[in-house]
Symmetry: C2
Subunit: 218 residues, 2 copies
DNA sequence: ACCTGAACACCGTTCAAGT
DNA sequence: ACCTGAACACCGTTCAAGT
């Protein structure tokens, strides 16, 4: 049996890490995650995976968690750190849209809590009053998760690389302009648009809301 | 055959409206939407449904759309209208968490575009500069969709009626306090918390960010 | 302890056949 | 035009049996 073993690639035993890695590869390839296909890829039976992973949901969560990554070091500018953290998440879901879908449908899972923690600490560093910290951090988190979900939805429905503004412009063409005047207007304005820049603009807007409530100025 | 026909309830022919209605009933009951179960409920075969609905995704989208509802009349206070519109969405996803999941994973679908349009028009009415309108409306929309997804995720994983703050407090107990100091802090502060009030506080925070950029003062 | 793969209990969807 | 329901091509998950 000619198993094409690439040089330096030992035929490791099955492990949670290898399973998650193979799952990520599969999802990144645009394929649906299936225990049968995954087992075939790992040259084993579907039952073997269940020794290392409880079920499909856990595997998807683990794959998303692996792809979101560990936090970057903080800077001494809390707002900058928040922007950086948010962009990290954006870049991760941009590279792995399926992870964006997971993020949006996971609640209080380690991955989301880690993002929340990271944002929350910087909210504290900004000097937000105790009573407002939860609101501020939640607003940022929910915005990020909302974008994650929309980004994933788009990746599913259009060709990769299509910008949100293009989708919106296309959608607005099919819309009754009398019922959707705003979308018509705004779609026209959106000539040059970068989803990443747009995402950051939203973060900055929320940060401005947070700042305007700060006890002392800035 | 004793079909228990309630008085005044004619045994209508199958229709898209009846199918969507039955689907909503099924989802509200906490059951998974299945073509077989739905067909049984409608006393027909699964194939019959396909004459009126293209596939499961379309049916879920139609059910979510039906449940989000038509916009309320606008007031002459744009901020108030935005708050009202946001609360309408929150109340709908609170009553039908499965619809929240759909919202979060649908992009540029009529339902989401309708919410976006509603928000966007009020953003214009607030006097936001043209170049900022898309950012402002997107920030609000993505926040709403993020909450929708989280709310749905929670409804799936805990008993109905559990508040986000309780989930967070429970989660924080299992968390390493050294790695999650913020969540630990904030979970402690969250004694009396209403998810609906909390949701609105986030909307107000973003609105404040929008206002702080207004050309003229308020 | 870990792996195998057949088997179980489902799915969404199609389609020939009916009315 | 609309409905029926068997059939197709899958799923996730379990579990007896192996090593």
């Amino acid at each position: 049996m000619a198993t094409r073993a690439r040089p330096g690639e030992r035929e490791d035993a099955l492990s949670r890490a290898r399973i998650v890695e193979a799952a990520i590869e599969m999802l990144d390839g645009g394929n649906e995650l299936t225990f049968r296909a995954l087992a075939a890829q790992l040259r084993t039976g579907p039952g073997a995976i269940y020794w290392h992973v409880a079920n499909k949901g856990e595997l998807l969560a683990a794959a998303a968690d692996a792809v979101i990554g560990e936090p970057q070091p903080v800077t001494d500018d809390p707002a900058l750190t928040i922007r950086t953290a948010a962009l990290e998440v954006f870049d991760a879901i941009d590279a792995h849209p399926w992870a964006g879908e997971q993020l949006a449908r996971l609640s209080s899972q380690p991955t989301v809590l880690r993002i929340f923690e990271r944002i929350g600490r910087q909210v504290q560093a900004l000097g937000v009053a105790e009573a407002e910290q939860f609101t501020a951090a939640s607003a940022l988190l929910n915005y990020v998760l909302g974008v994650a979900g929309q980004h994933a939805a788009q990746a599913r429905s259009v060709e990769p690389g299509t910008r949100r503004s293009d989708v919106l412009r296309a959608a607005s063409t099919n819309l009754d302009p009398d019922r959707f005047p705003f979308i018509r207007d705004v779609a026209g304005q959106l000539r040059e648009h970068d989803d990443r820049v747009q995402f950051l603009a939203g973060i900055d807007l929320i940060l401005e809301g947070i700042r305007s409530r700060l006890p002392d100025g800035r």
